[in-house]
Each structure stands twice: as structure tokens, then as C-alpha cells.
């Protein structure tokens, strides 16, 4: 009798141990399925390669044996950079395909369209590639977390640098008249803490043909520092115009528009020389990282799994860091693959070192801090390449 009771008890213990594996829809004993929604078509289709990149990364993970014995399936969907389409695709992934979570999506307007939806469904909406500051709001939106540094953090970094190294300067600001421009502007001015340093701040609308009037007003204000908060096309126009009208300043250019091929080359490399911007990633083409282990690993990944990836597009290496972090969280989750556990792990990263991030930049989150990366390094364009200078500046 005693024996059978022990056996029963033992059986129960064993059974409960086996049942300790806890799954939400999208996870099972042999599969983890998640989704990513990126613009594979339309005006922003160049960025669509991040989706391909994340899927390719997990092909590599699966070839190594998967995560805790499970195969990872990534469902990559196209939103054409259209918010309505984004919502449709998110519903499809969550309700029809039943993914465990959605991660790595691109774009502010598109992710805004599903911000509320994902939080209502309580499905993790993780590691977004967008710099809007609104994503860091765990109190109202506990299921959404970005990945890249916010525009606000970047704006504060420029302000801090200007305050420290050129406190007597007068600043002229050109900004795009929308959330993107205002995120930068507000954080920048707040960090300056001395509004009299701003000689003029003028805006433009994306519907305009040229920004020549704005540049003329800025030059007329007598500013000797120019902060260029513009999307690529207008940033290029502004850099060229500043050169043409001989407005000689120290120029700061937001990271959104610091691509050499899409902005600096059209503007003219001579006019672009000396511009200061920020970076938080290791550029594979930078000779300083020729021997770097991260860059070597990325190059091998790129040649084997991600031949479409370009070493000239930052999102094609940033996605590698994103995918690595997703892998880390899934590995940590073990057999508890629930929405809640994933969010808990994502919001308790401490000094986590993801590959391709610059030395000195690590990922730190907490239940109150949903901003994984809040440090960047300044860099200056020398006429040919961007060169990092100074220490990493952290603003968290």
C-alpha cells in the first residue's frame, strides 16, 4: 500500500515535471514560430532586407540544432510601408498563423498602427527598428519594446556635445515638421537647457519642393552651428545649399540621414566634409574593424545565409544584433515559452553584449526602462569615410 502511494506520488512529480513546459500559441515541443513585418515592396522596400536577414539568421540557428531542441520558424510578411497593411498582416500573424510574438518590424507610422492592437492582444511586439521615443512606455504599452536608440537619445547626445565643447555657439536648426523632427528637436532643446543658444529653428513639410527659403533664414540668423534634422532627400538638399550659399558652420546630421550613398554623395562629398553624426554599430567596411570578430562572424553569416545583405546598409547589420538578441531570449526562456515570460526576459537584460554594437555599448532594460540602447559614439565625415571620435556618450 505504502509502495503504491509512493509510486503514485513519484508519478505525479514526474508528470508535473514533464508538464512544466509552458506554451502559448506559437510554441510547442519541437517548434517556435514568430513573425516579422517589413516593407518588401513600396517606397521603403530597401529596408525590407531586415526581414530576410532575421529569417536567414534563424536558418543558421536551425542548422546548428535549433533552440533547446526546437526549430525556429520565422514568418516574414510585407506591409509595403503602409500602416493599414501592417495592421492586416499583424492580425494575420497573431490570429491566423498563431505566432508566439512579432519582432524586428520597421517604421514608425507602420508600428504605430499596431501599437494598441498588440497590447490589447498581449502579444510581444519586440525590438522594433524605429527611433520614435513613444515606444519606451512600459506603463501604458507593456508589450512593445524598440531596439535601436531613440531619436530623443540621439538629440540629447548632440546637445551634450555642443554644450561641452562649444558652449558659446549659436545654433540654427532645420527640422521636419512631424513626429520624427519634433522628437529630435524637443530632446535636443531640453538637454541644452539654455534656449538662447538656439538662434533659429525652422521647419519644412515633406510636401515642399525645396528648402532654400529655410536655409536662407537660418544663414541670416547668424548661427555658427547647423543641426540638420531632415529625412534623406531634404538633408541632402540642405547640405548642398549650405555649401552653395557659403554658410560656414559646424554641421550635425541626424543618423537617419547619414548614409553616404543616399545623402552625402548626392549633396556633394566636398560640402559634406566635416559633418558630425552618431553611430552605435560597427561598420563592416570600416578598416578599423578589418580584424574584428563580430564583423568576421557577420561576413560569414552574410556570405552563407544572407547573400542579399549589403555591407553599405546599416539595417543589414543591425538586424544581426536584433536576431542575436531574440535568440538569446528564446534560449533563456527554456521550456517556458509564454508571452509573459518573453516580456519578462526582454525587460531584464543587463549589460547584454550583442554583436556589431560598438565597444562600450551594451543592451540594458528593466521593467521601467524599455530603451535597450541609449549610448552612441560621435563620428565625423572626413570626405571619404565616417571616422569615430571621442568616448561613447550614454544618456540613460
Amino acid at each position: 500500500m505504502l509502495k503504491s502511494t509512493t509510486a503514485l506520488a513519484l508519478g505525479l512529480v514526474l508528470a508535473s515535471a514533464a508538464m512544466a513546459a509552458d506554451y502559448d500559441k506559437g510554441a510547442s515541443d519541437d517548434e517556435i514560430k514568430f513573425g516579422t513585418i517589413v516593407p518588401l515592396s513600396g517606397p521603403a522596400s530597401a529596408y525590407g532586407s531586415t526581414g530576410t536577414c532575421i529569417a536567414a539568421y534563424f536558418d543558421m540557428v536551425n542548422d546548428r540544432g535549433g533552440i533547446n531542441g526546437r526549430t525556429v520558424t520565422v514568418s516574414v510578411q510585407d506591409d509595403g510601408y503602409n500602416p493599414a497593411k501592417m495592421l492586416e498582416q499583424a492580425r494575420r500573424l497573431v490570429e491566423r498563423e498563431g505566432v508566439l510574438f512579432i519582432a524586428g518590424n520597421i517604421g514608425t507610422p507602420t508600428n504605430s498602427a499596431i501599437h494598441r492592437y498588440m497590447n490589447q492582444r498581449k502579444v510581444p511586439h519586440l525590438f522594433l527598428t524605429t527611433g520614435a521615443s513613444k515606444w519606451d512606455d512600459p506603463e501604458s504599452y507593456p508589450w512593445t519594446m524598440p531596439f535601436i536608440p531613440s531619436y530623443a537619445a540621439e538629440g540629447r547626445i548632440y546637445a551634450r556635445y555642443i554644450k561641452e565643447t562649444m558652449p558659446d555657439s549659436m545654433i540654427g536648426i532645420l527640422y521636419q515638421n512631424d513626429d520624427f523632427g519634433r522628437d529630435y528637436l524637443d530632446a535636443f532643446v531640453a538637454e541644452l537647457s539654455d534656449e538662447s543658444m538656439v538662434a533659429a529653428a525652422v521647419s519644412y513639410d515633406t510636401s515642399t519642393a525645396t528648402i532654400e527659403s529655410q536655409m536662407s533664414t537660418l544663414k541670416d540668423s547668424g548661427a555658427d552651428v547647423f543641426f540638420n534634422i531632415a529625412s534623406p532627400k531634404f538633408a541632402a538638399q540642405a547640405i548642398r545649399r549650405a555649401g552653395e550659399i557659403g554658410w560656414d558652420t559646424t554641421q550635425f546630421l541626424v543618423s537617419v540621414a547619414n548614409a553616404k550613398s543616399a545623402v552625402l554623395e548626392p549633396a556633394g562629398l566636398a560640402y559634406a566634409t566635416g559633418i558630425i553624426s552618431t553611430q552605435y554599430l560597427k561598420e563592416p567596411t570600416n578598416p578599423a574593424y578589418a580584424e574584428d570578430a563580430d564583423v568576421a562572424a557577420w561576413k560569414e553569416f552574410q556570405s552563407t545565409y544572407f547573400p542579399k545583405g549589403s555591407d553599405g546598409n546599416w539595417w543589414d547589420w543591425s538586424c544581426y544584433a536584433t536576431a542575436y538578441t531574440i535568440e538569446h531570449i528564446l534560449t533563456q526562456a527554456g521550456d517556458v515559452l509564454t508571452h509573459e515570460n518573453l516580456m519578462k526576459l526582454a525587460s531584464n537584460l543587463e549589460e547584454f553584449e550583442a554583436p556589431m554594437l560598438l565597444p562600450g555599448i551594451a543592451i540594458t532594460t528593466s521593467p521601467e526602462d524599455f530603451a535597450p540602447i541609449e549610448a552612441m559614439s560621435l563620428m565625423k565625415f572626413d570626405g571619404e569615410n565616417w571616422a569615430l571620435f571621442g568616448d561613447v556618450i550614454a544618456v540613460d
Binding site: 513639410d205 527659403s213 541670416d220 543616399a262 556633394g268
Partner: protein
């Protein structure tokens, strides 16, 4: 004073862009009776063709001439295949067709040439002419103003003094009667599209060096060109071109001298235009087209 002159030059630089685009709108309006909303996108598409030719190593001027010819033929084909089936349809249907054309051409350009901005060489020279201390004007701006003038003169002479121009106007004005007096209306419509696209191509290669070339390049110039054309009178080439220049200069002056003008310049400019149109519905130099119903 220098500041004022600088604003004037900025205004002329964008006004010149609107003026030449307005001429393309006048061309198609006078020969078909419609405002082609896809005119800006067609101009952008043509400019991409010119860009591609230049990339293959062709010198710029021959590339522009070839582009104008290709655009002329392309637009005739487009009119035949896409627009002609709706010739007898309601005006609203025609507007829908134009919107469809706008979207299709825009996406097609994006799919072929992607959305990254591309520098486009000036047909004149990349430098600028110094007028006085601290004041210079781009050679390109001067060149495009001269080009606008030349196109304007050509269009004016064409409609005013040539048999063909008269036939085009007649075909747009009254198809039935034109047919009865022996005008080949079908040919005239095709010709109107071809000529408008040719002018549009010239407009495109004048705009691109200023704004950079990308699929979205045509929209702003089209909106302000249309405003300019309506202000000056869309039936008058001279009025439309002048209207375009006025819109450009107005924008620049409002930005410079009106408080918060930079934020509201488009609004203020368009409101001023609206007020003029309330007094003169046909525009400053336009004639009222009367139709027998």
C-alpha cells in the same frame, strides 16, 4: 536689400520650376480639355529615362533630346491604350483614370529605379554667377528661366500662328464640329498628349538638378504649377507661366517676411490665389471658355 534679392532669386528658382510644369498642363488642357494629374509623374518618369541614358555614358544634351522624343511617343501610346477608351466617359471617370495613371507611373518608377535620391546633372553648368557681394544665382536657375521663356514662346506661337495649333484648340473645344470641318480629332488628341509629355520631360530635367531625382519629385511642382496655372489662367501659356513664377516668389517672400511664414507659406499662397480666382474665375490672363449645352 541683399536679403530681399536673395529671396527673389530663391522664389524665381522654384517659380521657374512651377512655370515650366504649368506649360505642360496648359498644353494638355488646350488640346484635350483635361488637366492631367499624372503630368508630374510622367515628367519624373521621363527624367529617369534621361538619367539612365546619362549613366550609360551619353552626353546630357543628346540624352535630353532623345528623352523628349521617347516621351512624345510614349505619351501617344499611353493616350491610345489607357485614356482613349474613356474618351466619351464622364469627367469624374477621367479624373479617376488620371489618378490611376499617377499611382501606376509613380510605383513603376520606384520599382525600376528605387526610391533613393539621385543627383542629376544640370543641363547648363553646376556653378553659379555672382551678382554682388554675398549674392549669387545658380547658372542652372538662369538657364531654366531662359528655357521656360523659350518653351513659352514656342507654345504661344504654336497655338496662335500655326494651323496645327488652331486645329488642336478646335478639337478640344468642340469635337463634333471639328470632325465636320475635317480635323482629325483622334490625331489631335494624341498630338496634344505627346507635346505635353515632351514639355514635361524638359520640365523634369530642369527640376531634378534642384530637388534631386526620386519618384516623389513630381508631386510638389505639379500642385504649385496647377495653382500657378489657375492663377494666371490655364488657357493662356503666358498667364500660366507667369502664374507659376508668382507662386514661387510669393512662397519665398511669405517665408522671409511673414511671422511663422515658413510654416504656413503654402497655405497663405494658396489662399491668396483663391481670393484672386473669386474675382477673376478664369485667372489673370485666361479667357472664359463658354460651352454650348
Amino acid at each position: 536689400m541683399t536679403f530681399f534679392l536673395e529671396q527673389l532669386i530663391i522664389g524665381l528658382s522654384s517659380g521657374g520650376i512651377y512655370a515650366i510644369m504649368a506649360l505642360a498642363l496648359v498644353m494638355i488642357y488646350k488640346s484635350t480639355g483635361h488637366v492631367n494629374l499624372a503630368q508630374g509623374e510622367m515628367a519624373v518618369f521621363s527624367t529617369f529615362i534621361a538619367w539612365t541614358l546619362v549613366q550609360t555614358g551619353m552626353p546630357l544634351w543628346p540624352a535630353i533630346l532623345l528623352t523628349v522624343a521617347v516621351s512624345f511617343v510614349g505619351a501617344i501610346v499611353l493616350e491610345r491604350v489607357v485614356v482613349r477608351p474613356f474618351a466619351e466617359a464622364d469627367d469624374l471617370v477621367v479624373v479617376a483614370v488620371f489618378v490611376g495613371l499617377f499611382l501606376s507611373i509613380h510605383s513603376l518608377a520606384g520599382a525600376i529605379w528605387n526610391y533613393e535620391v539621385k543627383p542629376f546633372p544640370s543641363a547648363f553648368s553646376d556653378g553659379s554667377v555672382s551678382l554682388m557681394v554675398d549674392l549669387s544665382i545658380r547658372t542652372h536657375t538662369l538657364g531654366s528661366l531662359v528655357t521656360t521663356g523659350a518653351v513659352l514662346t514656342a507654345v504661344w506661337i504654336f497655338f496662335r500662328y500655326t494651323q496645327l495649333g488652331l486645329a488642336l484648340r478646335a478639337a478640344a473645344d468642340n469635337r463634333e464640329s471639328s470632325r465636320l470641318v475635317g480635323i482629325n480629332v483622334s490625331l489631335m488628341l494624341a498630338l496634344g498628349w505627346g507635346l505635353a509629355a515632351g514639355i514635361g520631360a524638359v520640365a523634369g530635367v530642369m527640376i531634378a538638378p534642384v530637388t534631386f531625382l526620386d519618384p516623389g519629385m513630381g508631386l510638389a511642382p505639379l500642385i504649385f504649377a496647377l495653382a500657378g496655372a489657375l492663377l494666371g489662367g490655364i488657357t493662356s501659356p503666358f498667364g500660366a507661366a507667369l502664374g507659376g513664377l508668382i507662386v514661387g516668389v510669393l512662397e519665398a517672400m511669405i517665408s522671409a517676411y511673414v511671422p511663422y511664414g515658413i510654416e504656413f507659406r503654402e497655405l497663405i499662397a494658396l489662399m491668396l490665389i483663391l481670393s484672386v480666382l473669386l474675382v477673376r474665375p478664369a485667372g489673370l490672363f485666361g479667357e472664359i471658355v463658354a460651352r454650348r449645352v
